[in-house]
Symmetry: C2
Subunit: 157 residues, 2 copies
């Protein structure tokens, strides 16, 4: 049983305004970026994000468990996603004999080519629908706010 | 064919820092709030959000198409979700004979009771993982930034 507090601290008007704007805009933004990648290139945003993370690693590979944290996915959901991406030739799974911590995902040459082809569309969307709407101080505030959330939720910076 | 710009404007370090923090923290925050509702009450965050929106309407009902916009869902995805929620007794679908614009979703008494029971958990999570991490000026910045995004993406304020 979880203890129920008798008197929840409801959000006041200003807090509610911030929360509502943030939560609805975030979902719409994600849908918009996904739509642009899908319509332009037939690639899902979630797959794009995996290609980005892998391509930035040494050897283009990362442990599945670490990758799940990086893209904020569950291990089982990521496992299905990586299987689909492997079928599409974008990544491969690699077992490292000397490493008991298991399986790595590795970006293929085709995956890197896909990323090069799609990145201009993604960055244009991120600029058009968020970054270019903000001045420097808003960008700083955005970074500060969500780095605080990351740190609070135990995510490595 | 979409025209491809030869020279994408990549994000600079400050822009990338803001984007990365925001996009990863948002996914982690959503997962955390969903986990707390699931573990505490067996309710998905997406279902909670539907109950909130409906309960705030006159008569506890809203057109499906409008509700899809409010919770940033596609109509087909929302349709499946509402069907599940109807089976669980939380909402019902109502056709209005004099309104050609179709089907409404309406929260049931059981749905309102479920919302009353779960809201303290949700608001405690929203506070703990976001709102209470922020000072008043950060809350204001958060609202300003994402109201700009909402307006840009054509969402009614």
């Amino acid at each position: 049983m979880t203890a129920i507090t008798d008197d929840p601290r409801w959000l006041d008007d200003g807090e509610m305004r911030a929360w509502r704007a943030y939560v609805i805009a975030s979902e719409l933004l994600r849908k918009q970026l996904n739509r642009e990648l899908q319509e332009g290139h037939g690639l899902a945003l979630a797959d794009y994000e995996v290609l980005v993370r892998l391509s930035e690693c040494d050897g283009g590979r990362m442990r599945m468990a670490q990758l799940a944290g990086e893209v904020a996915s569950s291990k089982s959901r990521l496992s299905h996603q990586i299987a689909r991406m492997e079928t599409a030739g974008l990544v491969r799974r690699v077992e490292c004999g000397d490493d008991a911590r298991g399986v790595f995902a590795e970006v293929t040459d085709a995956g890197r080519a896909r990323l090069d082809e799609t990145a201009p569309t993604h960055v244009a969307g991120v600029r058009a629908h968020l970054i270019d709407l903000l001045g420097a101080s808003d960008q700083q505030a955005l970074a500060d706010i969500f780095e605080r959330v990351l740190s609070h939720l135990g995510h490595p910076a």
